[in-house]
């Protein structure tokens, strides 16, 4: 007797498990049992496992009987004429859903040609072997799996046309590509997804050659003429949000140009864009430090009754201003109320991003790179027919990564661009490379896609033919404008007096533990000291008790809080962080006594 488990719960036994399982499957196909039921006879433990719970991943497969798929030409015909739908196929038992349990006992053919008597199922399409974004990689079956993964990961970061109602939206951190295009080389998935409604790249002319070493290490060389014509331009949108909060005691924030009496008043110059309502006007070009929404808040702590009279002098400034390195144009101003009934102001900032050195681009094959130089159009190599590439890609990116699909797309793109049609690059089912080559030959090109090229600067012919064609390139959301950062002097932290951290706070670049070690290893003792001078301070120390003394600025004299004024006090130079740790020792009730000694 074989145990029967439904959703891992024992329900009974059967005598003939194989027959039992077959019956469940055939009844499911007949429609007598729900489609979501899956069953398997596990011989190892002598159990029949039935799964009916929700949350299982299932996938559709074509049922195969005696080596013949149940899906026939007749079904396909009916589907084309819209006479039947997917659910009809399910009802007829032509297609069924199989889960991970039942999958153990099925044999699935990948292609119809692979079918034998033993097969129980057939994949609907070979494209199902890859995921959604991966299936957008053309000719993916020519690639290393790793590259396929990386290519699809890169596509997710591409700037495109993500929604068509973007104008009415206030999403955080949005990039929009200016002239998005449909890829010339596409896959079946592109039409399934309506990719033409939200494309995320552009078809560019790519030459695979080196350019004075500027495209070493995955860098790409870009044509300035193409940029001037609008290639890969995008707009960056960011909303700035402020709310009139209500506090206890009937106090409330106020959106208005702050009064000069307000604590923390910036400067008149910073508020210059604000209109009478305290909000910036649309189309104002703003820089860092400029106030977008003027706001003042009531005092944080109400100490005396006087402050209840709400004079402006007790209020705090709490405007929204642009942080370090931010800039843009005010695109859209929205005044509304939130769910608590508080006044809510949202200002959308826009900033045009023209491709520049350091911006990241990628093809759809995991071949990402950053712009290393923007070359004037006059210096770009050109072909005999006068074609100039938009992007020059380094040939060294190809051999080690084995992204053959990258090359085939280049070839296919050329065919598509010249013949004015889209090329199908669906994984496993795309157009054959040989056909593409043949078509290219028919149009008067070399069948391998190579062309004679000339040096743009000197006009000399290159000794080798250059592989050039059309490709779909994506601009990725990582742009230097959002990341560039440097500092010489700048803000410090209140507690440690060390430089702040991070680009937004104009922070310093940390000289860490291991970097410190390099100074020590070189014996560059004094240089190391100087590098760490960011938080150095002069501290008066009482020689009597060894504790830190106090400097009285009015008397211009130091005194010791323990030993008083009649004691020897010397100034020493230490890092503020060390002074801080001495204070922490005191908090630990540890007496950190400094014994001073003459330097000489």
């Amino acid at each position: 007797m074989t145990d029967v488990l439904v959703d891992n719960k024992f329900v009974g036994t059967v005598k003939n498990p194989e027959e039992f399982v077959d019956r469940i499957i055939s009844e499911r196909r007949m429609g007598k049992l729900p489609l979501s039921i899956n069953v398997r006879f596990k011989e190892l433990t002598d159990q029949v496992i039935i799964e009916i719970c929700s949350g299982r991943a299932v996938r559709p497969l074509i049922v195969v009987k005696e080596g013949k798929p149940m899906l026939t030409e007749k079904h396909l015909d009916q589907l084309r004429k819209n006479e039947i739908t997917w659910s009809d196929l399910l009802k007829q038992g032509v297609i069924e859903y199989v889960d991970s349990t039942e999958e153990e006992n099925v044999l699935v053919a990948f292609k119809e040609a692979d079918l034998t008597e033993d097969h129980t199922h057939l994949e609907i399409s070979p494209i199902t072997i890859v995921g959604l974004t991966t299936s957008l990689v053309p000719f993916g079956n020519f690639n290393h799996g790793v590259r396929l993964n990386q290519g699809s990961k890169n596509q997710k970061q591409a700037i495109g046309f993500y929604v068509s109602n973007f104008f009415a939206r206030l999403d955080m951190d949005v990039n929009l590509l200016h002239y998005p295009q449909n890829p010339i080389v596409n896959t079946a998935m592109h039409s399934i997804l309506d990719y033409d409604k939200h494309p995320s790249g552009q078809n560019v002319v790519v030459a695979i050659m080196s350019y004075q070493g500027y495209n070493m290490e995955d860098a790409i060389v870009i044509n300035k003429g193409s940029i001037d014509r609008g290639l890969a331009r995008s707009t960056y949108y960011r909303p700035i949000i402020s709310e009139e909060l209500r506090y206890s005691g009937g106090l409330i924030d106020e959106v208005a140009v702050p009064d000069k009496e307000v604590k923390g008043y910036r400067s008149e110059h910073d508020y210059r864009f604000l209109e009478d309502d305290g909000i910036i006007y649309p189309e104002a070009t703003v820089q860092e430090g400029d106030v977008i929404i003027g706001k003042s808040s009531p005092p944080r702590f109400l100490s005396s009754l006087d402050e209840y009279n709400l004079t402006t002098s007790s209020r705090r400034e709490s405007s929204m201003a642009l942080k370090h390195g931010e800039r843009g144009v005010v695109d859209f101003v929205l005044m509304t109320e939130n769910m608590e009934g508080n006044k809510l102001i949202q200002v959308r900032l826009r900033d045009q991003r023209i491709p520049e050195i350091g911006d990241k681009f990628t093809s759809r094959h995991g071949q990402k790179g950053v712009i290393s130089i923007v070359v004037p159009e006059a210096d770009i190599p050109f072909s005999a027919s006068g074609i100039k590439p938009d992007i020059i890609f380094s040939p060294h990116g190809i051999p080690t990564r084995m992204t053959v699909s990258h090359l085939i797309e280049l070839l296919g793109g050329k065919v598509g661009a010249m013949s004015g049609r889209f090329i199908d690059g669906t994984i496993f089912e795309g157009e054959k490379e040989a056909n593409l080559r043949h078509e290219l030959l028919g149009m008067g090109f070399r069948e391998n896609g190579a062309e004679t090229m000339y040096n743009g600067s000197t006009g000399e012919q290159y000794k080798v033919e250059i592989f050039i064609g059309n490709m779909y390139y994506l601009k990725l959301k990582h742009m230097v404008a959002n990341k560039i950062h440097s500092r010489a002097r700048g803000p410090i932290q209140l507690l440690t007096r060390q430089p702040t951290e991070g680009r937004a706070k104009e922070g310093g670049l940390r000289l860490g533990e291991m970097e410190k070690d390099t100074f020590v290893a070189h014996g560059a003792s004094l240089l190391l000291k100087e590098r760490f001078d960011a938080d150095k301070t002069i501290v008066p120390v009482c020689e009597e008790c060894g504790l830190i003394a106090i400097y009285d600025g009015r008397k211009e004299k130091s005194f010791c809080p323990v030993c008083g004024e009649d004691t020897e006090i010397s100034n020493i130079e230490v890092s503020y962080a060390f002074k801080l740790i001495l204070d922490e020792f005191k908090a630990l009730t540890v007496y950190p006594k400094l014994k001073l000694e003459g330097k000489y």
Binding site: K516, D517, V520, A521, H522, G523, A524, S525, L526, L528, K529, F532, D533, D535, K536, E573, V574, S575, A577, F578, I581, F585, L588, T589, V590, Y591, K595, Y600
Partner: protein
């Protein structure tokens, strides 16, 4: 030969090893002038190789070992020889050595044999002799006779022969080690008859004995679980899993001068701290060498010196050499700072600020490199 004069001249200036090397490589037909140039060049090179005063040798060693260490794969198991002997190598072993762990994952010995035994004929036999064996390995069958309260142990003669044991010897060891039973040797067959000495609950005790007796130690060296004869050059060496130098050295065929164990503490207790130092160097070098990492031995020697200079092996961790640091701040900067600060305050410890890390903390010039020299002249 006048070169002898040169050799004498440089005797004080160059170390013996370098002088020997010169002697070895100096061409026979070398003129005095040329030899002089050679000596001068060698002396110059030697002088240049000496670390300068104020050089941060420790930090350079640490980085030189640490940096390639990041490239090591975490878990690399290596099969030594034909028999499957699992040996800890790679990063786990490196950490094990440098931490000065008392119990290591795979203890091993390399047993060298005295000239008269290392030719190879007896190696297998000797190897078998070393291996710890229990009664289980000589067993053919154990059966209990309920009627006369007896247990008969049938032994495998071939197995016994290979280790040079007889039924008689086994009977003697058993009666010495297992109390409460009488062991009697059968006259003809290799069979031992066991009868309990007391009559109460006799069946129960003998039934329990049936299982426990299998694990009774019979011969070999305790702790050695595997043996593997290996050919090294002309002689045969026995590699063992498990160590026990003390018992091993009781056998007179063992070359006690060359036999080593990879257990630092065992080597230290047998031979002293100098040997432990050398074992650390050898073991670390072996690990790095197996990974294809090329580090100058002197870096490892420095680490080994630091670990052993106190006279006993100390690991590089907060219980070992970090604990020995004279500076409170230096100790506090490495793990559990509060403990160190509190304990220092209890005894009023004074930090002389003599080493690097305290001075970095205080933003003072570190006493290394350019920060080391000071003025001798007194300033009034």
């Amino acid at each position: 030969m006048t070169t002898t004069k040169l050799f004498n001249e440089y005797k004080e200036l160059l170390p013996e090893k370098v002088l020997d090397d010169i002697k070895k490589y100096l061409p026979d037909k070398c003129t005095d002038a040329k030899a002089k140039i050679i000596f001068e060049t060698v002396y110059g090179e030697y002088k240049r190789s000496i670390a300068n005063p104020g050089e941060s040798v420790g930090l350079i060693s640490a980085e030189s070992i640490g940096e390639p260490g990041t490239q090591m794969t975490l878990n690399t198991f290596h099969f030594a020889g034909v028999a499957e002997m699992n040996v800890t190598t790679g990063l786990p072993r490196l950490i094990e050595i440098l931490d000065g762990r008392k119990t290591i994952k795979t203890k091993m010995m390399e047993v060298y044999l005295k000239k008269s035994h290392s030719s190879g004929k007896e190696v297998k036999k000797i190897a078998e002799l070393l291996k710890e064996t229990t009664l289980k390995e000589f067993l053919k069958e154990i059966s209990i006779n309920i009627m006369n309260m007896q247990m008969t142990i049938e032994l495998d003669e071939n197995k016994m022969k290979s280790v040079g044991l007889t039924t008689n010897k086994i009977t003697k060891t058993l009666s010495k080690l297992v109390k409460g039973f009488k062991f009697k040797e059968d006259k003809k067959d290799p069979v031992i008859i066991v009868t309990p000495s007391s009559k109460d609950e006799a069946l129960n005790t003998i039934y329990k004995l049936k299982e426990t007796i299998k694990h009774v130690y019979i011969s070999g060296i305790k702790g050695i679980t595997q043996v593997l004869p290996v050919k090294r050059g002309d002689e045969h060496v026995i590699v063992t899993a498990g160590t026990n130098l003390k018992d091993l050295f009781k056998h007179d065929f063992v070359d006690t001068e060359r036999t080593i164990s990879n257990d630092l503490y065992e080597m230290e207790s047998m031979f002293g701290i100098e040997v432990a130092r050398q074992i650390i160097i050898n073991e670390v070098f072996k690990v790095l060498d197996a990974q294809g990492i090329n580090i100058d031995v002197r870096h490892i020697m420095l680490v080994s010196d630091a670990m052993t200079m106190s006279g006993s092996v100390l690991g590089i961790n907060r219980y070992g050499i970090v604990k020995e640091k004279p500076s409170v701040l230096a100790r506090a900067s490495f793990e559990t700072p509060i403990t160190h600060i509190i304990n220092a305050s209890l005894v009023g410890e004074v930090d002389k600020l003599n080493s690097v890390i305290e001075n970095v903390m205080m933003n003072q010039a570190i006493p290394v490199g350019t920060g080391l020299p000071g003025l001798i002249t007194k300033v009034k």
